[in-house]
């Protein structure tokens, strides 16, 4: 009996030798894709640590990270740049996973939190809290979570009857989005100029204000939640993708699973939104990119997480250095790039005639 066996999908089946009955199926392509994406993310992160007002070589960055650098280089690299770089990776991965979960629940490739209005709701909730209460992390998280939940419930109720798979969900989301944007505009005008600018920058999605003391807890919770979600749902999701009846017949409890998926997706997006403001389109694009690269047929969480990390890390690098002297909110970059991605996605779907 061999310990290694390959299936026709290119996966490896690994068996423990002897009489121990343990075996695992290793999706080789998926693992390779994730490793490649992570390597690229690491490269982008190192670049983010190197670049800035003072530029360091990779060796200096490494020395600073291991505690052997000069005090100035440690200040720049570890105190100032590292929190932001780590945040981009972690938040990106969270958005990728959240997008995959939302698309899986809605069974709709466009059903990401940005399109169905969750992000806009969270954003409006956050802006309202900043305008009327204050910009503390806990308060903003509460506002974002409440706003997002209310809007999601509304979207689902209003698109009832058409099911979430159809485009009714998307159009209803667009309508609610428009109302929320109007609401935010109104809030900006109501607020004093200073608060309005703070709220506007937050409302565009930025990592400028990230620090370990302020955002650290959110990042930690997010990283753990992402890992738990990925590990816990990896087996059940492919069955859920087959449809709820089939999943039930195969031993999955669909109602419970759906609740878990919704909870996971909502909490992930709300934490990201509270920490950095609404960052659009990463949750839409990352699952698609991950799935295409990994050649997966259904929901693929790990590639989505890796792709999300790479996308947000790259977008933040661009946001910081594209215009010299100005740190743009990363959300502006993801909106512009993500909008272009949505356009190419539409054109491609058109070519296939599936839309």
């Amino acid at each position: 009996m061999t310990a290694w066996m390959s299936t026709d999908q290119g996966d490896l089946i690994v068996r423990a030798p002897g009489r121990v009955r343990i075996s695992a199926r290793v999706p080789v392509r998926s693992v390779a894709v994730c490793a490649a994406l992570l390597a690229l993310t690491a490269a982008v992160t190192v670049a983010a640590l190197m670049l800035g007002k003072v530029t360091y070589s990779p060796a200096e960055v490494l020395r600073a990270l291991t505690g052997n650098g000069t005090r100035v280089s440690e200040l720049f690299v570890v105190r100032w740049r590292l929190p932001r770089a780590v945040a981009a990776v972690v938040l990106g991965a969270m958005l990728g996973v959240a997008g995959a979960l939302f698309q899986c629940i809605t069974r709709n490739p466009l059903g990401s939190p940005d399109v169905i209005g969750f992000t806009a709701g969270a954003s409006a909730g956050g802006v309202a809290v900043i305008t009327f209460v204050g910009s503390g992390l806990a308060a903003v998280t509460g506002g974002a979570l409440a706003g997002g939940l209310v809007v999601t419930v509304l979207v689902v109720l209003l698109s009832r009857g058409g099911g979430t798979a159809g485009f009714r969900l998307v159009i209803v989301g667009i309508g609610l989005n428009a109302m929320l944007v109007a609401l935010e505009t109104y809030l900006y005008l109501v607020a004093d100029s200073d608060i309005s600018q703070i709220a506007a920058v937050w409302g565009a999605g930025t990592l400028n204000a990230v620090s370990f003391s302020h955002t650290g807890p959110a990042l930690l919770v997010g990283a753990v939640a992402t890992l738990v979600v990925c590990a816990g749902l990896q087996r059940a999701l492919p069955l859920f993708d087959l449809g709820e009846d089939v999943a039930a017949a195969l031993g999955v409890r669909p109602a419970r699973l759906r609740l878990l998926l919704v909870l996971g997706g909502v909490v992930l997006v709300a934490v990201v939104t509270a920490a950095a403001g609404p960052i659009s389109f990463v949750a839409l694009a990352a699952p698609h990119v991950g799935r295409r690269l990994a050649g997966a047929s259904g929901t693929a969480l790990a590639p989505a997480a890796c792709a999300g990390a790479l996308i947000l890390a790259s977008a933040d690098l661009v946001a910081q250095h594209a215009v010299p002297g100005v740190a743009l909110p990363v959300g502006v970059v993801t909106v512009a790039v993500g909008g272009l991605y949505l356009l190419t996605l539409l054109v491609r779907e058109n070519r296939k005639g599936t839309l």
Binding site: L110, L158, S159, G161, G162, G166, F167, R168, V170, I171, V172, I174, G175, L176, A178, M179, V181, A182, L183, T185, Y186, Y188, L189, V190, S193, S196, Q197, A200, V201, A204, S280, F281, V323, V326, L328, P329, V332, V333, V335, A336, V337, G338, G339, L340, L342, L343, L346, V347, R348, E349, N350, R351, K352, G353, L355
Partner: protein, 372 residues
């Protein structure tokens, strides 16, 4: 081909055969729902609807002059309008409320007609210059101009706005028609939303790295007719008039286009010319309206729908009625925006989005739109 459609084509062919002799009272109806188009009831209803809308417009104009943050006796308002008012009433009524009312009528007409044109041409009930990113293109043009240091006067901003609107319209039609088959309503809305997102991203980026642009944009973009003067309006009047005149020439061909572009072509309509003129007209109307009032969404979506409900599917009625009904809606929204909050005014764009977005949701929820 279904029986009612064939009947409608035959009817339309006979109408265009008689050319200009065909009476304007509506023999050759054509539309997306031919069974209701030939409905004699709706043509009988037309004078009534016209009268009702004219009355509503008059009432709204009166209310717009009478209602505002500062309360002022109706008698003094009337005196002011007749040219014998006191200084305080003149300042309030003639310098603030009257220009704002006129601007709202102009902007409303432009957006209503632009909305009905784009809905008729794309045969898409979900189309609206705001949703589809045309206003977003105009906003980006204005932002670029503000960034480049152009003054905030409307006459300086109108050309960038028009250029932006034109580019966005062309891009949208190209994107939506790329690929197989006709551009379905949903495909077009998605393309428009994506386009609007891209344009909005650039707009936000620019105004965030320049404080002057941010301040200029903050008051302009909210979609408001407050504080606009007749000089502002004069800067865009020419473009609005040209846009409206082009729209008038499109009324008849668009009725044929409602049957499909191939059928329209076989009925003798030059569809390429219609396409070009529609694009130019929509860009002129939406661009000029956006230059003076900022992006106002959903007005162009809801008004043509209301008109279609009232008088059926004939563009010869829908387009003129939209020109009349949209100012009513915009003025009413503007009055609500003035009085909804104590001490502060809301931008009228906020009100139209709040009224119009539910219309979009209702349209899609009631399966009026073919979603596949």
């Amino acid at each position: 081909m279904s029986e009612p459609t064939r009947a409608a084509i035959a009817q339309d062919a006979s109408a265009s055969g008689t050319g200009h002799d065909a009476s304007a009272s509506g023999t050759g109806h054509a539309g997306t729902a031919p069974d209701s188009a030939a409905d004699p009831e709706s043509s009988a209803r037309m004078p009534l609807v016209l009268a009702g809308l004219a009355l509503a417009l008059l009432l709204c104009v009166a209310a717009s002059l009478l209602i505002g943050a500062e309360s002022i006796a109706p008698g003094r308002v009337v005196d002011s309008v007749l040219g014998r008012g006191d200084a305080q009433a003149d300042a309030l009524v003639l310098d603030s409320r009257l220009p704002r009312t006129v601007v709202a009528i102009a902007v409303g007409t432009a957006l209503g007609v632009a909305g009905s044109l784009i809905q008729a041409f794309t045969r898409n009930p979900l189309a609206d210059p705001g949703i589809l990113g045309v206003n977003g293109g105009a906003a980006l043009g204005v932002t670029l101009a503000l960034w480049a240091g152009v003054s905030t006067s409307t006459s300086a901003l109108v050309l960038p706005a028009l250029a932006g609107a034109l580019l966005a319209t062309v891009a949208l039609l190209l994107l939506a028609s790329a690929g197989k088959g006709p551009a379905t309503p949903v495909r077009m809305v998605l393309a428009g939303v994506a386009l609007a997102a891209v344009l909005g991203g650039f707009t936000t980026a620019i105004r965030l790295f320049d404080v002057t642009t941010f301040d200029g944009y903050r008051s302009w973009a909210a979609g408001s007719v407050a504080g606009r003067s007749l000089t502002d309006l004069a800067g865009v009047t020419g473009y609005l008039v040209v846009g409206l005149l082009i729209a008038l020439t499109l009324v008849r061909p668009l009725n044929a286009v409602a049957l499909g572009e191939d059928t329209a072509a076989s009925l003798g309509v030059d569809t390429r010319r219609v396409r070009l003129l529609t694009i130019v007209s929509v860009a002129l109307l939406a661009g000029a309206a956006t230059a003076i009032a900022g992006p106002i969404t959903f007005l162009g979506l809801m008004v043509p729908h209301v008109c279609r409900l009232l008088v059926g599917n004939d563009q010869r009625r829908i387009i003129p009625l939209s020109a009349l009904a949209a100012p009513v809606v915009l003025l009413a929204s503007d009055i609500v925006a003035r009085v909804a909050l104590p001490l502060r005014e809301m931008p009228v764009g906020v009100v139209t989005a709040f009224v119009g977005a539910p219309v979009l949701i209702r349209l899609i929820s009631h399966r009026k739109v073919h979603t596949q």
